[in-house]
């Protein structure tokens, strides 16, 4: 298993080095957003209005953290299912988003856009929410606060563990790894 330590904003060379199956320890600012925020981001783009967060070189984590307990930056913060964000992801990749982080399979359109836009899709471990929250050292809602749980979060990651599922070269861990362990 190859492991990389990366920091946002991500450069193109950071991304093209990654291959499906590599682990990444990601640090720096990452934006947290889920269903309702994505819908609103893309509606904003359609209207030709400016977005509330930068996209070039940035990463989005599909998450709705639980409230923080004493001494923590955020509460338990595991990934949510990425596929629900598929219909909103391509326009964000086309504007320079370099990584999305979640869990679960992506659509063909998203996977093709990852290659075309030189970006990656990473999976965090669903169900390890308390552990993952320990790798988030700062967190605050920065946009769409009226959405409450579903606002956009500015999170600071510290060696946040994730595995590369879809790389910028068409590699797809979910498609290639399970058949190696399948029995007839």
């Amino acid at each position: 298993m190859r492991e990389w330590r990366l920091r946002t904003p991500l450069r193109e060379e950071d991304v093209v080095n990654l291959r499906a199956g590599d682990w990444v320890a990601l640090s720096g600012v990452v934006y947290g957003a889920r269903d309702a925020a994505h819908q609103r981001l893309v509606e904003t783009l359609r209207r030709g209005e400016p977005l509330p967060i930068p996209l070039a070189g940035q990463a989005i984590y599909y998450v709705g953290p639980a409230p923080a307990q004493e001494g923590w930056a955020v509460g338990p913060a595991g990934p949510t299912t990425s596929g629900r964000m598929d219909p909103f992801t391509v326009p964000l990749l086309e504007r320079g988003l370099k990584a999305t982080i979640g869990k679960g399979t992506r659509s063909r359109e998203v996977k093709e856009a990852l290659v075309r836009c030189r970006a990656v899709y990473l999976a965090a471990v669903g169900g390890a929410a308390a552990l993952l929250a320990r790798h988030i050292v700062r967190g605050r809602a920065v946009a769409y606060e009226d959405l409450g749980t579903e606002a956009i979060w500015e999170l600071e990651f510290a060696d946040f563990p994730a595995v590369v599922v879809n790389d910028a070269h068409g590699g797809d861990l979910y498609a290639t790894s399970p058949p190696a362990y399948a029995r007839p």
Binding site: G21, Q69, G78, T80, G104, L131, L173, S177, P178
Partner: protein, 294 residues
């Protein structure tokens, strides 16, 4: 009429209803929910450790280790094991000799959820189309059942919706048989893949009606791991399904491996001559569950 009134008199004479305060129910359910969001069942953790020992995939082993570390951290620090604490589901079995006092039982259950979920994520919207958050994780989904006796048993599943959304009901025809049931269960688990947060626990309902079979599949998830169905033909089916599901190669978090499911539980019920209803309800890698008896 005469017979009816005689029976009624006899009943009142022999069994005085047991009064249970809904306040004590509320207190018990607050405690139940608080515990089960922070502490995963010991039978599940034992199965997870066993999976870590036999999983050949390095990625899979790393995932299983993180899940074990997460469970340990959450319990030690007293935080939720997963940010998705679901829409709370309560199974309330009420002995027919119980009389609830001090207020409304449904309201007490709702208040218990409000209190226990105060410091958890707000994950419930009031209307599926309008999508306004209720702000306090109420209302819970409550299934009531009347049983003999004077006890009240309340069980809960706190279930993330990643796994919930991969669950399926299918009304197979009467003659579909076991082979078709197996194909269906494996198809659901395989299609769910990483989305259900494997390693999963597979709840299978067989029989009953359209809505009944879904409830059977969910109730199957209340059973502790390592306790097969008491009916030999269903225990055998559980073993065969577990093997078939783990032969898919999906593995922990769908990253490939042999530990796709830690258990398959089947619950069955009588059904109609026309049908073989099947439902699959998956539980995720943070399968929070508990029960309390009053």
């Amino acid at each position: 009429m005469v017979v009816d009134s005689l029976l009624y008199t006899e009943y009142v004479d022999n069994v005085a209803p047991r009064a249970i305060s809904v306040r004590s129910v509320e207190e018990a359910v607050v405690q139940l929910l608080r515990d089960c969001v922070r502490r995963l069942p010991p039978d599940y953790l034992a199965a997870l450790r066993e999976a870590e020992a036999r999983e050949p995939s390095p990625l899979g082993r790393r995932v299983l280790r993180m899940l074990l570390d997460n469970a340990e951290l959450a319990e030690r620090v007293g935080v939720a094991t997963c940010q998705d604490t679901g829409i709370p589901v309560l199974f309330v079995e009420v002995g027919q000799d119980v009389h609830f006092v001090d207020g409304s039982l449904p309201e007490a259950l709702e208040e218990a959820v409000r209190e226990a979920y105060r410091d958890l994520r707000k994950s419930v919207v009031r209307d599926p189309l309008l999508r306004e958050n209720t702000g306090d994780n109420t209302p819970p989904v409550v299934h009531y059942e009347i049983v003999p006796g004077d006890r009240v048993r309340i069980a809960t599943l706190v279930k993330g919706f990643g796994a919930e959304m991969t669950s399926v009901v299918r009304m197979l025809p009467a003659t579909a048989g076991e082979a078709e049931v197996k194909r269906f269960v494996v198809e659901v688990v395989q299609r769910a893949g990483p989305n259900a947060c494997p390693p999963v626990i597979v709840g299978v309902g067989l029989g009953s009606s359209f809505e009944g079979v879904a409830l059977l599949a969910k109730k199957a998830l209340l059973r502790p791991l390592g306790t097969p169905n008491p009916k030999p033909h269903l225990a055998k089916l559980e073993g065969e399904l577990l093997e078939a599901v783990n032969a898919t190669g999906v593995g922990p978090q769908g990253l490939g491996g042999v530990c796709t499911a830690l258990a398959v539980h089947v619950e069955s019920s009588p059904t109609h001559i026309a049908a073989l209803p099947v439902a699959v309800n998956l539980n995720c890698s943070a399968p929070r569950r508990g029960e309390v008896v009053l």
